[in-house]
């Protein structure tokens, strides 16, 4: 029991270091906030113009759309779009990853802890201010029931975990390609499309929405936000969260397998 606690303590320390490292870049964060708001504004203008021409009821009303995109910007930095982040892939490229490997820790868990620290940082320093300022300027809908809020928190936590697992999976491909720009570009386009980041899945034509249901990526954005907006209610919430869990475990497993394969290659290369 004590050793388990000690292990947890080590990874918590990694997560905290990851958080602190990012605290250094205050100006960069301010610039990021501005960028968040710019994209939020353009989205809101575009959808307002689209909705202005239509009087018939839509699956999401304009107010819900605005809330959806506010949430998008709040959680944007938690999404797995940063697979090409150079510090990790260049560690594999220039071999300094071997130094990290000498640490007596599980490497997958180490990266996961690092990603979790990163997620916490962006949630607090980027997400929270974005949300608070948005409440001032736009009509942001709040969750209807406390149960919806609770389900949303669970669902969003799973989304962040899955995002971290996907990021690590993309990183580990660098053991084969040495350069992750191609694969992260490709995964970027698939994820932006099927997560519902650009257009909420509720507005899609049926055939495409059906495809998205079978893919894991809706669990990153569309599923938690739909729970927030009470578009998924009752037993469907449990099914949605269950699906998210399965996919999260899948990507965790995939990342672990790829990493251990990659390490064996690394050893061979290093001689």
């Amino acid at each position: 029991m004590k050793s388990l606690f000690l292990t947890f303590h080590v990874y918590l320390a990694f997560a905290r270091k990851s958080f602190q490292r990012r605290m250094q870049y205050r100006v960069a964060n301010l610039a990021g906030l501005t960028t968040n708001f710019f994209f939020l504004l353009v989205h809101i203008f575009v959808y307002t113009a689209f909705y202005a021409a239509r009087t018939d009821p839509q699956p999401l009303n304009l107010n819900e759309i605005i809330t959806y995109f506010v949430l998008c910007q709040v959680f944007f930095m938690l999404m797995p779009f940063w697979g090409a982040r150079s510090e990790v892939t260049s560690a594999i490229k220039d071999g300094s990853v071997s130094l990290q490997l000498t640490k007596p820790v599980d490497f997958h868990a180490y990266w996961l802890a690092d990603e979790c620290g990163r997620a916490c940082y962006y949630l607090l320093m980027r997400g929270l201010p974005t949300f608070l300022i948005s409440i001032l300027f736009f009509e942001v809908a709040m969750p209807r029931q406390p149960t919806a809020l609770m389900a949303f928190i669970v669902s969003m936590t799973l989304a962040a975990l899955m995002s971290a697992a996907i990021t690590i999976t993309i990183f580990s491909s660098a053991f084969w390609t040495l350069d992750t720009t191609g694969i992260s570009g490709l995964s970027y386009s698939i994820i932006t499309l099927f997560s519902g980041m650009l257009v909420p899945i509720a507005l899609w034509p049926e055939w495409l929405a059906h495809t998205a249901e079978w893919l894991p990526f809706a669990g990153l954005i569309d599923v938690p936000f739909s729970i927030y907006l009470s578009k998924i209610t009752g037993a469907a919430v449990w099914i949605a969260i269950g699906k998210q869990m399965v996919w999260t475990l899948f990507f965790m497993g995939l990342g672990r397998v790829l990493l251990s394969r990659g390490f064996s290659r690394l050893v061979i290369q290093g001689g």
Binding site: R54, G182, S189
Partner: protein
């Protein structure tokens, strides 16, 4: 003249070096094109549901999207040197440029050439051409000339933004990410008719950032000229 031929020589070298990693190049080409294909696919999805945007049809928006997409992708292809400029400053590579007997601006400009942006250019071009075939535009000499001028000036405008972003790193070492609002954000914003934005937002981009209206508005002027959208435009302003 000497500079020009030297430039083409540099470009040839860059292309050859990028071709060394052919698999990675092909992969990049497709991944870049896929990002922009999905971009436009999403616009098409919205039009599928809502039919029109402030009186604009899908292909009228496609016309804008194609034009600004071409300008931006060409600018990225040619102005890549300014995009990675901060790396040179951090590493101290810029010092070597200072001792060479050529202008530093010229050297930074000719330092990089990103051929894989061809994928993005092709995608924007396809959208632009399809949009043209869907709209009834009677092309004339003057209009084609005006179109070319707009494309060139739009490209120059984006390269200019890259330069501004690059020079900022003399003060901040890391180049300021905020320039993304005007580059990537500008493309995103410019893909839609300008009239849908609120006046203060519109005026910020037309008068403060770009007093000469080369940005975002330039392609609207082209559309006005080419496609006779005067009435629609008047309605939008009202």
């Amino acid at each position: 003249m000497h500079h020009l031929s030297l430039y083409f020589h540099f470009v040839k070298l860059r292309i050859r070096s990028q071709m060394e990693y052919r698999l990675s190049f092909v992969f990049d080409l497709f991944s870049q094109a896929s990002v922009s294909v999905i971009d436009f696919f999403m616009i098409a999805l919205l039009f599928d549901r809502f039919k029109e945007l402030a009186g604009w049809s899908l292909w009228e928006v496609g016309f804008l999207y194609g034009m600004i997409g071409i300008c931006f992708a060409v600018a990225e292809m040619m102005g890549r040197g300014f995009d990675v400029f901060q790396r040179n400053v951090v590493r101290g590579d810029f010092d070597t440029m200072l001792v060479r007997p050529l202008g530093t601006f010229y050297q930074v400009f000719s330092n990089e050439f990103l051929l894989r942006r061809v994928g993005r250019i092709a995608q924007a071009l396809v959208v632009f051409l399809v949009a043209n075939s869907q709209l009834t535009i009677t092309w004339s000499f003057a209009k084609v000339g005006y179109l070319l001028i707009s494309l060139v000036s739009g490209t120059c405008f984006f390269i200019g933004l890259f330069v501004i972003g690059a020079t900022s790193c003399f003060w901040t070492v890391q180049s300021i990410e905020i320039i993304n609002i005007f580059t990537n954000g500008g493309v995103f914003m410019g893909s839609y008719p300008f009239g849908i934005y609120r006046w203060w937002f519109r005026h910020f981009f037309t008068f403060i950032v770009d007093p000469e209206n080369k940005f975002t508005f330039f392609e609207i002027y082209v559309s006005l000229y080419d496609y006779d959208l005067f009435n629609r435009f008047a309605q939008m302003r009202a």
